[in-house]
């Protein structure tokens, strides 16, 4: 049985992505007791799935490593992975949280040696790579996963693969008898940091994401660029594996559209400029890039990055929201539309089309454990009616990493204020 030490001066953080990690660490480092609950088997969330950050083009692994070290060193922080909050009762300063823990089938003895993964045979779509690659039924979610502990896919339990994994383990780390458990504990304030999810590209019917192999999303392209990703860092066409030198980026794919997401997702312009540099880095003078946009939103220091990308002769900016995508006989996606600067019609073939997909809030009002105030875009509003529940990062707005971290620090302060008032009341 998993035991959690908590009081109503404890802060519960829901979601272990960059925002949840930040909020949890900032609060724990002020001396508050924090329980961090993460649905996935590891921390880091979508940031761990990025190849590089904009605008400095540095690697997220660096910041994640620092945060993981902070997490390991802090005695005030309890991390629960494969865990979901299913209930929250009470009020600001006096909540009781119910958390469902899914079985990992691997205990703390695990040294991440990987013998179990070698032993098993069944393969599954790798969610870490957005299904672009496969993973085994016994797996480490990604190379830097924290906790650095393997996971057994529940689908192999009861199959010979499970026995093979258990037999291969030299540390007695595999426990096939592990069961789902539900625990509950008190907390005074809750930081809700469940982040965002990529908008379902198949819903943008004219772009044919579900029909054309060579139309992919920006998050998938990010995995493709990563040397540890499903293609080993090669930018290729999913249909035939040929190099993707002519790439189209379609901005506002699902964002700023009353048929899809109402809001501007804020990150997509810069994300596409960043991904332009991946194509240039890979193919140099052979790269041919078209960026289709309504208008470009790169503010403050991002402006310099935009100017640098814009200066590259191999990157063309076309002011047009494409109307549709078709596929030619070679499987190349053809982008159709009308250029707003001159009203010229175009039908441009590319090797690969990348949809700069919008950020949809990962907040489900139907299953939210307490009544919550959402804005019309579906993000959590900073409303006093939310009591001691404070949104952080992508659950509150479409934010880039930098702003999400700032927002999470603010949320940590809000939560600290609540548990401090609880502490004073008890003195």
């Amino acid at each position: 049985m998993t035991a959690v030490v908590a009081t109503n001066e404890t802060i519960l953080v829901v979601g272990g992505g960059i925002s949840g990690m930040t909020a949890a660490l900032e609060a724990a480092e002020t001396g508050k007791r924090v329980v961090l609950v993460e649905k996935r088997p590891y921390l880091g969330g979508r940031v761990s799935q990025l190849y590089k950050y904009f605008p400095k083009l540095c690697f997220p692994t660096c910041g994640l490593e620092i945060n993981q070290r902070r997490a390991k060193q802090n005695p005030n922080l309890t991390i629960l992975t494969m865990a979901e909050v299913t209930g929250l009762a009470g009020d600001k300063g006096n909540y009781r949280a119910t958390v469902k823990l899914s079985p990992r089938y691997v205990n703390a003895n695990c040294t991440a040696c990987g013998d179990c993964a070698t032993a098993v045979t069944a393969q599954f779509d790798d969610e870490y790579n957005y299904g672009l690659g496969k993973r085994k039924g016994a797996y480490l979610p990604y190379r830097m996963a924290h906790p650095a502990r393997y996971v057994l896919d529940p689908a192999i339990i009861g199959t010979p693969d499970a026995e093979r994994a258990k037999a291969a383990c030299r540390y007695d780390a595999i426990d096939l008898e592990m069961q789902e458990e539900t625990i509950d504990f008190p907390c005074g304030a809750v930081i809700w940091a469940t982040g965002w999810k990529p908008y379902d590209a198949a819903k943008i019917q004219p772009y044919g994401y579900d029909r054309f192999a060579n139309v992919i999303t920006s998050v998938e392209f990010e995995r493709m660029a990563d040397p540890t990703g499903p293609t080993g860092g090669k930018l290729v066409r999913p249909s035939d594996g040929k190099e993707a030198k002519q790439v189209a980026f379609i901005q506002c794919a699902g964002s700023r559209d009353r048929n899809h997401l109402l809001h501007c997702s804020r990150i997509c312009c810069m994300a596409s400029f960043k991904q332009c540099t991946y194509v240039i880095d890979a193919f140099g003078a052979d790269a041919r890039i078209n960026v289709y946009y309504i208008d470009l939103r790169a503010i403050d220091r991002f402006e310099d990055f935009y100017q640098k990308v814009r200066a590259n002769q191999n990157i063309k900016f076309i002011k047009s929201k494409p109307a549709s995508i078709t596929q030619d006989k070679d499987g190349s996606p053809v982008v159709h539309g009308v250029d707003t600067e001159g009203y010229q019609r175009f039908a441009e073939p590319h090797d690969l089309v990348v949809l700069a997909i919008g950020m949809e809030p990962a907040v489900d009002p139907a299953s939210f454990p307490v009544p919550i105030v959402l804005n019309r875009e579906g993000f959590i509003e900073a409303a006093s009616a939310n009591g001691g529940v404070f949104a952080a990062g992508g659950a509150a707005d479409a934010l880039d990493v930098n702003r999400a971290v700032q927002h999470a620090t603010g949320a940590a302060l809000r939560a600290i204020q609540v548990v401090n008032s609880v502490a004073r009341a008890e003195v």
Binding site: C252, S320, P322, G337
Partner: protein, 212 residues
Amino acid sequence: MGELNTAMIERYRNSFLKEVEANVEEGEWVKMCMQCGVCSGSCPLGKFWEHPPQEIFMMIRAGKREAVLQSESVWMCTSCYNCIVRCPRELPITHIMHGLAHYAKRLGLVPKTNPTAKFAQMFWDNLMVKGRVNELKLGLALYFMNGFGDGIKVALKNQKLGMAMMKTGRMNPKEAFGGHAVKDLAGFHKVLKKAQELEDARIAQNGPPAGA
């Protein structure tokens, strides 16, 4: 008609956008266009338009009154609704195009040779007589729209189709002599007269100043 046009120019001296908002069906939506171009790219007849919808909206804002109201483009819309479904701001583009065409017609600015406008008039005139469209007469009128010689040519080309339609009862040659009417023809004309009065009152309210 010329008078109404002069009066409108006078009234909305510097703002064609305001004129469109006040007088064109769904005209108040024009300012919501963000010039993304999805409508133009989605139009199946797009390549035949001199000015695609997105450009029409920009021209309205730029005050290009004559160019918009005299353009053939607003008559190109076939009401397929592709643009409306895809518009990220849900502009009723199809309705605005028809609204502009209708407004141009009211002002007497429709290009004289525009075939869609000509056909629309022909359809209306045909319908007015009996309260029902006389397809035989409308079809023949359409054949001879561009002159007698051309009409004979088109008629001969479609001879087989015409015969087949007669055989299956889809077309009745007797319709050439008068043709059948709605049950209450006088009532039908009364309804239209009332509608015209209401429309005139609406125009007087929105449109030219009294006495113009």
